[in-house]
């Protein structure tokens, strides 16, 4: 927030600020505040997961237990949705979950940046899932993968109507997956910022109310940060399951 009062848009917090410019041909691969948030997120995940299990003790410390619980949480999620066949996709789902979760959490820190509030980032992640799952489906079933769009037991005359709906539904997966995360992060952070402005603009004593609301909203946002990472991971698991088992 600008102290001078020139900018008071609640969307200002989502602005990309380049730190270092890398010109490759005509393309600028600038290292921005978004990239920095990603680097911090990655550093937190790698350091935590490496250092917490450094001792590899049979009886875990509390920190080691957190790593083990997060491992077990995703492993169980994958087992429940995909089954034993899903084990080989565990590193990918775990990476997605941790990246989105810690990215959301890092975004909750004051003056930091939420890279998951950018549609281009969430869409890229969703696109990776979508393309990967589609390739997996074709690799597993070949052309038979198209039978995924035909609902078993349906009368033939319904097919012309329902196949396009199924195809559109399938193609909209990356959009829904990415927009869900992006919109949740955007809405939550914008709301907090709006209430933060109320704290400043309202008369002294009445500003306490929006401040209390911010505290409550921050708690809710932390819950949403976890929930959205979970939703992203579980949908990835379900898409993998669809690709492996069709119907």
């Amino acid at each position: 927030m600008s102290a001078s009062g020139e900018k008071h848009s609640p969307l200002e917090q989502f602005e990309i600020t380049p730190f270092v410019h890398f010109e490759v041909g005509s393309v600028d691969l600038a290292f921005t505040n978004s990239s920095l948030a990603m680097v911090i997120t990655t550093a937190v995940i790698t350091l935590f997961l490496t250092l917490s299990v450094n001792t590899r003790s049979i009886i875990p410390s509390r920190v080691q237990l957190i790593s083990e619980l997060s491992y077990g949480f995703i492993a169980q999620l994958l087992k429940d949705t995909v089954g034993e066949q899903g084990r080989k996709y565990f590193p990918f789902v775990f990476t997605i979950f941790m990246f989105v979760l810690i990215g959301n959490m890092v975004g909750m820190l004051p003056y930091s940046f939420t890279f998951t509030s950018h549609i281009i980032v969430t869409f890229a992640l969703a696109a990776v899932v979508f393309v990967g799952v589609t390739i997996l489906g074709f690799a597993k079933h070949g052309m038979n993968f198209f039978s995924f769009f035909v609902i078993p037991g349906l009368p033939w005359y319904m097919l012309p109507l329902l196949i396009p709906i199924e195809v559109i539904s399938y193609l909209s997966r990356p959009i829904s997956l990415s927009v869900r995360l992006f919109a949740n992060m955007l809405a939550g952070h914008t709301l907090i910022k709006v209430f933060a402005m109320f704290v400043i603009t309202m008369p002294f004593y009445s500003g306490v109310l929006p401040l209390a609301f911010i505290v409550a909203l921050t708690g809710l946002e932390i819950l949403i940060a976890f929930l959205q990472a979970y939703v992203f991971a579980i949908l990835t698991c379900l898409y993998i399951n669809d690709a492996l088992h069709l119907h």
């Binding site: 969307l11 990309i16 978004s34 997961l49 990476t95 941790m98 992640l125 955007l186």
Partner: protein, 165 residues
Amino acid sequence: MPQLEQTEFFISQLFWLVVIFTFLFIFLWRISLPRISSVLEKRESKIDDDITSAKQLQAEAEEIQKQIDQQLRNARLETSELIKTASTKFQNHTTKELHQLDNNLSNTIEESATTIKKNIKDSLKQIHDQTYLIAKLTLSKISNVPVNDNEIKDTVDQLQPKVIN
């Protein structure tokens, strides 16, 4: 909205996302997750080993308990047998001793009765003799009549109770 307005940073965001996400994926896949997995496997195998060894120890303990029970049963049987034997032996010994004691007492009583009878006989004979002498002396002192010894003896004999025999 900066998300849709700052399109000039789309490529850089995608580039850094690909680089960082790929690094994170490879790091977790190759380094972090195998470590956590190995710890979990180690723990699982330790728990399995402990359970196996606990089951083995339990089986051994049950076997030992069986042996102890068997030994206790045998010991009780032996004790019971010993008590029975000792009791019988003691009873026989006591009966024998009592029998012996009865015999001894009977003999002693018989001997005592014989001795008493003999003593009575001797005493009566002595009384008879003394009575005879006293009677003889008394008659000779008071009458100066010669008295036949046999008469005195017959008279004393008649007065004496027939105790002897």
